[in-house]
């Protein structure tokens, strides 16, 4: 695995606007960065990333099973008690999941280390599934990359196939896609998933999260007052379960993508649980709940809120001293402690691998780069190749 400089495609910004990729530059800074790429060997991809990702996913599902069957763990995971049955039911009836992204620290050697699981609202899927795919095709056609260059990225193909499978449980139903207002990135991400669902033959509509209505008989409604029965939401369960409409979730009988049981899977409390169930697994970092920290041997650790996104409210502690802290609005629900295992550095960049899974199958990777040790929402997205 190494990082190579490459010439940018001369007109890529025009191409981006042609394809509706509007968020390649955010808040004045580059988000999509094709001035360099990462190169992996096929062996690195298959042995060090693909296989462990699928294994880690299965281990996470085993944790979900344990947590959902045990009141003590549901409390520990900060799942509101009035929703336990709702979540349990979604797990027991095996409600279909679409996707997730596992974040890995991997620099080309040794086992990839599991940072966390974005199993509910993973983003950067358009950049991964389509945009970096197009970059490879363009650069090969321009003679800048070898014709033998490949990419670990069957994401779009697998997404469409998965939508086609789920469709059989929803004949004649409309799938509503939803995200929050005022974010180009989320709207673009949801548009991409809508395109994939359309390609799978599903009839789709869009509504903003804030516009969802509630009817007299506890149905969620669209802006035409039609009942919503099937919905994809790019909005975290941990928020939804605490908002005004949470009480209508059971009666509304909506089939959700991702399903409610993902609220357990995307929770950072899953990290100490994994360590309890699979101690010393080569892809895991030692992780503890607050009360177990004293008895652990952990001296260098990262403190992460149970609920948080985009690198917010994370602090690094080395030999008893806090050496880094990001601010943010999270942390009310408690923290977990994870063994300090810094991201590999390539030049002065810290690099994080996002490994995508579609229904449990490894489907490709995204590579994010940051000058900072903690990957945040504006970390640059870099393309990659296999050669």
């Amino acid at each position: 695995m190494f990082r190579s400089i490459i010439e940018e495609r001369p007109h890529w910004r025009n191409t981006a606007s042609e394809y509706g990729f509007t968020f390649h530059t955010m808040h004045g800074a580059a988000y999509w960065d094709e001035s360099a790429y990462y190169q992996f060997s096929l062996q690195q991809i298959e042995q060090d990333i693909e296989a462990p990702s699928e294994e880690l996913h299965q281990m996470c599902l085993a944790v979900v099973d344990k947590v959902i069957g045990d009141q003590q763990w549901l409390e520990k995971f900060q799942i509101p008690e009035q929703h336990w049955d709702f979540i349990r039911n979604s797990w027991q009836t095996k409600e279909s999941s679409l996707y997730s992204r596992i974040d890995l620290a991997y620099g080309g050697n040794g086992p990839a280390k599991f940072y966390e699981n974005n199993a509910d609202t993973p983003t950067s899927i358009y950049e991964t599934g389509f945009w970096q795919w197009l970059w490879l095709q363009d650069q090969v056609n321009a003679g800048k990359l070898s014709r033998k260059a490949d990419q670990f990225n069957s994401l779009q193909e697998k997404l469409i196939n998965r939508f086609a499978q789920i469709k059989f449980q929803h004949l004649h139903e409309t799938l509503y896609f939803s995200c929050c207002k005022d974010t180009d990135e989320d709207r673009g991400t949801v548009q991409y998933l809508e395109d994939c669902a359309t390609a799978a033959g599903i009839s789709c509509q869009f509504i903003y999260i804030e516009d969802i209505g509630l009817s007299a008989d506890d149905c969620f409604t669209d802006l035409d007052n039609h009942k919503i029965s099937w919905m994809f939401k790019l909005y975290p369960w941990e928020f939804m379960l605490r908002e005004d409409y949470a009480d209508a979730l059971v009666d509304s009988q909506v089939s959700w993508i991702e399903p409610p049981w993902k609220s357990v899977l995307s929770n950072k409390a899953i990290l100490p649980m994994l360590w309890k169930l699979y101690p010393n697994h080569p892809n895991l970092l030692a992780s503890y709940f607050e009360e177990d920290l004293k008895n652990s041997q952990l001296t260098n650790y990262v403190k992460k809120p149970i609920f948080a996104r985009e690198g917010a409210n994370i602090s690094i502690h080395l030999a008893g001293e806090q050496v880094y802290a990001s601010d943010g609005p999270y942390g009310d629900e408690g923290f977990i402690y994870q063994d300090y295992h810094p991201l590999p550095a390539f030049g002065d960049n810290f690099t994080l691998i996002g490994s995508w899974l579609i229904n449990g199958k490894a489907a490709g990777i995204s590579v994010r780069e940051d000058k900072n040790k903690v990957t945040q929402d504006l970390s640059r997205f870099m393309p990659h190749i296999i050669l």
């Binding site: 606007s17 042609e18 394809y19 509706g20 968020f23 955010m26 808040h27 096929l42 974005n118 993973p122 983003t123 795919w133 197009l134 490949d150 990419q151 670990f152 990225n153 069957s154 779009q156 995200c179 207002k181 005022d182 974010t183 990135e185 989320d186 991400t189 548009q191 395109d195 390609a199 999260i209 516009d211 969802i212 209505g213 009817s215 007299a216 008989d217 506890d218 149905c219 409604t221 035409d224 007052n225 039609h226 009942k227 790019l234 909005y235 975290p236 928020f239 939804m240 605490r242 908002e243 005004d244 409409y245 059971v250 009666d251 996104r309 985009e310 601010d327 609005p329 490709g364 929402d377």
Partner: protein, 203 residues
């Protein structure tokens, strides 16, 4: 190969699409087909299953099943209110009934005033519920109305003229009582530290 084999780039483009010319012969054929399905028919309206049976003594079972179907369709896609008063305002006194949802919430729905019944050659039938309003300020006052609010003429008449679509199940129209019950957390988190810009609520 570890990547998606092929992506249809035309589908992925979001800019304005080029106009696609179609051969004239095809367009003409399509136009002819469309014209055929645009017909209406006169359909009998009955105010009860008994009313239907007295008009069709040889179709007792069909009349009863058609009534049940109409009631079920009304429960599914008919108007629903959160107060008795709101229902009475639209449909008039003694026209509404209360129901209790699974979450022990009370909702109010008008009674159906009748149903369209049309028997088919193969011995089957088609039916759809009809409402009427006894409230003078309702547009449906003295008229037959469908679950989605379409008006079909005077409710004194026992016949309505409708097209095929009138018998198809309606998209389930609800009375939305509120909006904005999801999305409040992000409003709160956005205010944090005066951060006005935001990119994603995913991760």
């Amino acid at each position: 190969m570890k990547r998606t084999e092929n992506i249809d780039l035309d589908v992925m483009r979001k800019g304005p699409k080029l106009f696609a010319f179609k051969p004239i012969a095809l367009a003409v054929a399509a136009g002819t087909l469309v014209a055929c399905s645009d017909s209406t028919e006169e359909t009998q309206v009955y105010r009860s299953a008994e009313d239907c049976i007295s008009g069709n003594p040889d179709q007792v079972e069909q009349c009863q099943l058609a009534y049940k179907d109409a009631v079920n369709e009304a429960v599914k896609s008919g108007p629903k209110y959160s107060s008795m008063q709101a229902c009475i305002e639209d449909f008039g006194p003694d026209s509404c009934n209360s129901y209790t949802t699974q979450s022990s919430q009370s909702i109010f729905m008008p009674f159906i005033a009748g149903y369209m019944f049309s028997s088919m050659l193969n011995g089957g039938y088609r039916s759809a519920p009809l409402y009427t309003s006894y409230s003078r300020h309702s547009p449906a006052y003295g008229k037959w109305s469908s679950t989605d609010g379409a008006l079909y003429g005077s409710s004194n008449s026992n016949k309505v003229r409708v097209n095929d679509n009138a018998f198809k199940p309606k998209p389930t129209v609800r009375r939305t009582m509120s909006r904005g019950g999801f999305g409040s957390t992000i409003a709160a988190k956005s205010r944090f530290g005066g951060k006005t810009s935001r990119s994603s609520w995913g991760g």
